[in-house]
Structure formats: structure tokens, C-alpha cells
């Protein structure tokens, strides 16, 4: 608890104190700037979309890693190897310094794109791709261990009692996975909000179009406008908190219903 306080609570408290030092006026001023508002909206919107994608794709990937054999006829040995490689590679987006991730993605989606996708740096799609890239592991990594622990006996029992695969999935498997999925989702969303490094090169920072809130924050800091910077950071913190609370409530509902 002491470690937690030193590491997290004190800096957070300092941030909030600094931001509220200017009174409510600072928050209003910060949000009055339409450039900041657009940046905030773009970031929240993008993080939401990415989180939804991660929930679906991340769960599927976890499933593939633990359970499924995607292509019939592939030998156990081959699939075993593929699984090991994917399992290793899945963490790379998280482990890579984000500025390197940005450089890699700029190569892939930029003007010299080898696959013909000239998204970067002028489109919002490039930002979506970058955030999706760095947040991919969150859902996978939170769902995977739960899935590994999940006993197949219950599923077999359900199937022997006449439940089809879809029913088994819906009534037996998903309810067990829901807490993990939502935990991954909230991490993925929060990380999306704060993403900075990979966007530095990938986004053109055009005001109102491709400027994210973290970049806007950096501008405030560079201009020595620490008050606006802390106000904006606090707003970001509140959005993240809100999202986590909402996700938690939804998760409880879903779990209760299952």
C-alpha cells in the first residue's frame, strides 16, 4: 500500500491539486478551445472503436491460442509451433518502444506503403491503426489465462445434455470470460486515451482533424502552460475513470444475467 501511494496516489493528487489551483475557470478555458475539444473527442472516439474491436478480435485470438485449430488438416505439430510463435509475437506491440511502433507503422501505412495503404499521416484511420496496434495484447492477455483454466468438462456436459455449440458458448464459456474481457477492455481504452509515442510520427497533428489529446497536452507543456496541461490531464483522468466505472457496471450486469 505504501508502494502504491508513493508511486501512484501522490503524483495523481499533485496533478489534481495543480489543476484545481486555477479554480473551475481553468477547466472551462481549456474546454472552450475548440481545438482541444476536437482533440479530446477524436481520442475518446478512436479509443472506443479500438476497444470494441479489441474485445471481439482479442477474445478470438485468445480462443485460437488456447482452444481452436483454425485450419482443419494441419498437423498438431505444425499448429503447436504456430501457436508458440503467435503467443510470443502478441506482446511485441506492447513491448516495443512506442516511437519505434510509430516508425514501423509509418513505413506500413505511409506514403511509401508497400501494401498501398496511404493512410498516414493525414487520416484518422492511421491513428486508429496505431492505437489498435499498441492495445491489441490487453484483451488477449487478460482472457487467455482464464480460458486456459476453464474446464472443458462443463462444456462437454452441456453438450451431452443437448446444448448446441452456440448455446455452450453463450451460456457456459462467455459468462466465465466476461470479467476478463472487460478488464482487458478498460486497460485497452485507457491506454488508447493516453497513447502518445506512436502517434508522434504517424499523425499529422492537423488541428481539428488528426490532433490527439496527448499531443495537445504536450503543446501546453512546451508553452509552459502547466495549468492548462494539468487541467486537461485531469479531464483525461476523469474520462478514463468514467469509462472504467461504466465498463465495470456493464460487466456486472452481464455476469449477473449469464
Amino acid at each position: 500500500m505504501l508502494w502504491f501511494s508513493l508511486l501512484v496516489l501522490i503524483p495523481l493528487a499533485a496533478l489534481v491539486v495543480k489543476a484545481t489551483g486555477g479554480g473551475l475557470g481553468t477547466f472551462v478555458d481549456v474546454l472552450k478551445g475548440s481545438e482541444t475539444r476536437d482533440a479530446l473527442w477524436l481520442t475518446v472516439k478512436t479509443s472506443l472503436v479500438v476497444t470494441i474491436v479489441n474485445v471481439v478480435v482479442g477474445t478470438l485470438i485468445a480462443w485460437e491460442l488456447v482452444r481452436d485449430r483454425p485450419v482443419a488438416g494441419v498437423g498438431d505439430w505444425v499448429w503447436g509451433k504456430v501457436r508458440v510463435v503467435v503467443d510470443l509475437v502478441i506482446d511485441v506491440p506492447f513491448a516495443l518502444p512506442t516511437i519505434v511502433a510509430g516508425l514501423v507503422l509509418l513505413g506500413l501505412y505511409g506514403p511509401h506503403s508497400p501494401i498501398g495503404l496511404h493512410w498516414a499521416p493525414t487520416t484518422q484511420r492511421a491513428i486508429l491503426a496505431a492505437i489498435a496496434f499498441v492495445t491489441l495484447p490487453f484483451v488477449v492477455r487478460s482472457v487467455q489465462p482464464v480460458l486456459e483454466e476453464l474446464d472443458t468438462d462443463v462444456e462437454d456436459a452441456a453438450a451431452s445434455l443437448g446444448a448446441n455449440r452456440l448455446t455452450v458458448l453463450r451460456r457456459i464459456v462467455l459468462p466465465a470470460l466476461v470479467p476478463a474481457i472487460f478488464a482487458g477492455a478498460s486497460m485497452s481504452f485507457a491506454r488508447g486515451l493516453s497513447e502518445y509515442g506512436s502517434l508522434v510520427l504517424l499523425s499529422s497533428n492537423s488541428p481539428h482533424r488528426t490532433e490527439t489529446v496527448s499531443v495537445r497536452l504536450f503543446s501546453f507543456i512546451e508553452q509552459s502552460d502547466t495549468r492548462s496541461a494539468s487541467a486537461l490531464a485531469t479531464i483525461l483522468l476523469i474520462v478514463a475513470l468514467l469509462a472504467i466505472v461504466v465498463l465495470d457496471v456493464v460487466q456486472r450486469r452481464v455476469a449477473a444475467r449469464g
Binding site: 518502444p97 505511409g110 485507457a190 493516453s194 512546451e222
Partner: protein, 350 residues
Amino acid sequence: MWYTFLRSILEERVQGMKRYRGTAPAIAITAALALAGCGGSAGKTLNIVGFSVMEQANQKVFDAFEKTDAGSGYTLQGSYGASGTQRDAVIGGQAADEVHLSLEPDVQKLVDAGKVAQDWKDNDTKGICTDSVVVFGVQSGNPKNITTWDDLLQPGVQIVTPDPGSSGSAKWNLLAAYGAYLQETGSASGAEADMKKFMANVVSWPDSGRDATTSFENGTGDVLLSYENEVILARQSGQDIDYVDPPTSLLIENPCAVTVGAPKAASDFLDFQKSAAGQKLYAETGFRPLPGVDVGSVTVEGANDPDNPFPTIEHLLTVDDDFGGWDAANEKYFDDTNGILTKLKADSAQ
């Protein structure tokens, strides 16, 4: 869950700050420590805090200074980052014997914070250590044949320049553009109309000069507004880009100052930077020698003509003569709410 989320935010913040401190200084420090160890000298350290572009340029200057009488026994240690970030770090207590920043107002803030003496500009160069000019970086072979400021306004020309909000070098670039259009049109309204077209052609506003260069090297845009030395350095590092010295440009002047309480060696180093020997080393990495300093003949790899690396700019503007100094220019053009260029930029995307 909470912990991971907060940790990721903190990590992100730290990474943002440290991004520029690459391995080069670490290697330099290790090498310097090794040298100090061999020599058996006490090895006093001079901390030099510079803006990011100075990192490569300073290597040779550090080495040369350590070999002079004034510098013997000292080991120079550099810290580099965005000018504003470095300024705040020094105000926050980072060890600094000399600062070398991108913009004069950044040093002025250090004066306000009591870190630098009031009279830091009372010398021959008015506190300036390095000079450069604003140039057009163009893609290899200059496919769009860009040579003048008017070419930048043509439909379909894509410009890359750093964000003036977060980067000092962007202010030089935008003032150069404004000054050029002011000269051509002869009126403020004409210059603003041209700047509007200019802003509409900007496809990317990276957060620093270095990131702008990286983005451009990766194919973004047709023109990169940059420091001459930054583009020359990129070419020295093997990047396949070209550049054009425009007919009208702005003299970029990077200030330097010793901090309050720094040892005499710090001002010796500052004098060395401004000396013919120091300026020659800077010239080799692309900086224009300070006026009145004769560096003799110097060959600059990466320049358009290595034997005549710094051709005279037809109309060379300065912030002091053409924009009334940085205080006035900052307020008039870059004020966060009412600056002419701030407003034009904010409107450009709508």
C-alpha cells in the same frame, strides 16, 4: 487493473520526456568516463543542456574543448531534448552549467527563474552561439521543382513543418514564411492571405523539428521547412533528401548562456563555442558561422556544394530587425489565443 492503467500512463509520460535522450550521450559518457579513468585525473564534469539538434553537432566540440588548456580536467556531459522541455527541466533543478537552446525566450524564462544572469546578452554575439537559416527540404531530385515561397502556395503542394505550439523550430519556419510573403505582397493583409494558403497546404505538424525530418524522410509531403543544418545533418547521415536555399529566409539564432554559479570552465566552453575553432566544427555539421568569425575554408559534407556550403541568401531577415525581437514577435504572431499565426493555423483545417 487500476495499477496497470496508471502505470501505463506514467510510463507514457516518462517516455515522452526521455525520447530524445538516445544512446549517443550514454556512449559519450561511458567513453568520457573511460578516458578520465585512464588519465587518472580528478575528472570534473560540466553539464551542458542543449536542444535536440545540438546532440550530434556537440560531439566534436566537446572533444576539442576537453583538449584545450581551459577544458583539460573537465568532462563534458550533454543532455538533449526539445528546447521548452529542457528549459523546464533546468528550472526544475536539472544540473546545468551551460544552456544552449533553440529560442531566446526560453533563456529569458531561465533569467526570470534566477537560473541565468540578467546580463547574459551583453557580449559580442548578443548571447547567440549558433546560426542557421530556414530552408526547403525537398524529396530527392526535387520532383515538384520547388524553389520559391510562391511554389509552396500552389495547389497540391504538401508542406511539413513542426507545430509552433510544441516546437521552437516551427516558429522560425513560420516567421520566415510570413516575412517572405510580407516582402512579396508588401502588406500585412497580403501576407496573411498567403499564409492562409500556406497553412492549407500543410499536411503534417509534427511535434518537433527532428520528428518533422523523420516524417519527411519517410515520404510525407513535398516540402519540409527546416533548419539548413538539420537537413545537412540528415544528408550526412545518408538520408536521400535534397534542399533548396530560398531567395528570402530568416536567420536562425540559437542562444546560449552560462548558469548562475557555474564554474569558470563553463564560460570558457561558451567562448570556445563562439571561437573560430568552435564555429568551424559547428560549420562542419551544417551551422552557418557567426557573423565576424572567420573559420577559413571549410568543407561541409551533405551541403549542396560542399566547398561553398553556405551561399548568401538574397534577402536574409532577422527576428530583431524585421519582427521587433522575440518578445514582440511571440505576442503578435504566436500568442495562444490572439496570435496571428496561431489563429490562421487553428482555422486552416476548418
